[in-house]
Subunit: 244 residues, 2 copies
Amino acid sequence: MTQNIYDNPEFFEEYSRMDRSLHGLARAPEWPSLRSMLPDLAGTRVLDLGCGFGWFSRWALEQGAANVLAVDVSQKMLERARELTSDPAIVYRQSDLETLSLPEAAFDLVFSSLALHYVENLGRVFSAVYRALAAGGSFVFSTEHPLYTAPRRPEWLTHGNRSRTWPVDQYLAEGPRVTNWLGAEVLKQHRTIAATVNGLLGSGFALRRLEEWGPDPDQLAAHPEWAEHRDRPMFLLASAVKPG
Amino acid sequence: MTQNIYDNPEFFEEYSRMDRSLHGLARAPEWPSLRSMLPDLAGTRVLDLGCGFGWFSRWALEQGAANVLAVDVSQKMLERARELTSDPAIVYRQSDLETLSLPEAAFDLVFSSLALHYVENLGRVFSAVYRALAAGGSFVFSTEHPLYTAPRRPEWLTHGNRSRTWPVDQYLAEGPRVTNWLGAEVLKQHRTIAATVNGLLGSGFALRRLEEWGPDPDQLAAHPEWAEHRDRPMFLLASAVKPG
C-alpha cells in the first residue's frame, strides 16, 4: 500500500507552500517537457492518477478534454483540489493507486505527475492503466529519476569548492527509500529505468518517448539553481501508447 | 569518425590479454543477459557490428545462423578474428561503423557488443541498421551505461572504509569523454539512456527490452568483485525490433 504522507497535517502545510502547489504546472520546471509528450486533448476522457491539487485536471479541461477522473490517496489534497476547481466535468475520487478499480477501455489519456514513485507494485498499476485505456490511448507520466532515488545518502558531495558530485550507490537494489522531505519521513520506491520501461512493455504498451529531464538553456538562464538537474536528473518522463 | 584505438599496438596487446578477449563470450559477465534477448538464430542472416575477435560471429554460426557479416574498424581485431575462425560463412569487413554501407533488408539480426559508445552519430547508425534489417528483424546490443561514462572523474570515492559512491556529474551533458583504459587515452561518447531509447524509436524501431546489467546472485557468489556493478551498472543492453 502506498504511504499517504500528504494527509499528515504538518507535511501538507509544507507541501502547500511549494511553488508548484501554489501556482500549478507553470511553476513545475519539467512541465513544458511533459506537456510536449501529450496528445491533443480535445474531446478526450482523461484519468489523472495522483491529481494532487488538481492543476493538471483543470488544465486538461481548458484544453478541451470532455471529462476527467481525478484520483488521489490524500483527502486533504482532494479537498484543496475541489476548492480550487469545482467543474462538474471533473470527478474526484479518493483511492490508493495500487488498489484503484477502473472501468475497461474508458479513457483516452492516463496522466500521472510525480506519483508513481510512491507505488510499490508498479506492474499492477501499469496493467490497470493498460486495461482502462481505449485502444490507441496514451499514458504519459513523470516519476522521480532513479539517479535521484538510488543513494543511501542522497545529498551532493562537494569537493574543495571546485565541484560537486552525486553519490550513487545501490542503483540496482530496487525497493523502499526513506528520505526526509519537508520535515517528514517520506517513503518512496526506487526502481531502475529498465524496470519502468520493461514494466510498460510487459503490460502491452508501446513506448513512444523517454525523457531524463533537465533545464534547457532558457530555463537555466532564468533559474541558475536548476543546474544541478543537468548533473543529476531528478525527473524521468515517459510516453507510451496502447496499440490500436 | 570513430576513434580506432584498437589498432594502437600497445593497446591491442593489453586488450588481447583481457579475459573476454582470450576466452570469448563465456567470460563476459553480461553475456547471459544479452544472450537471453536474442531471437532463435537458426537460418538467420546476421550482422555483427564491432565484431572484435569474432566470438559472437562464431557462436552465431554454432547456433545455426546461415551467415554472418562481421564488421570492425580495427585491422588488428579482424586479423585475430580470421585466425580464430575462418569459416567461409563469416565475411569479415573493415569499416568505420559510422560510414558503413549496407544492403537493404538483408539481415534478420543485427548484433553489437560494446561498440556503440565509440560512435559519434548514433542516430545515423540506428537508421542504417533499421534499413539493413528485414521486417521483423531484431537489433540487440550492449553499450557502456551512461552512469559509467558520465563523470568527469569516473573513479569510486571511498568514505572512511565504510562505503563507496560513484561520483555522478554532468549526466545530461552528452558528448566525448576521454578516459585512461589499458594505458591509452580512449575516446568514448557519453549519451543518456533516453537518447539511446529515443534514437531507436525515432529510427522506427519498437523497443522490446532494456537491461541495466548487474550480476545475479550466482554470479555475485562466484565473483564478489562484481558487486560494484550493482552499485553502478556499467552495461546497458537493449533489444528492439523492426516492425514486420
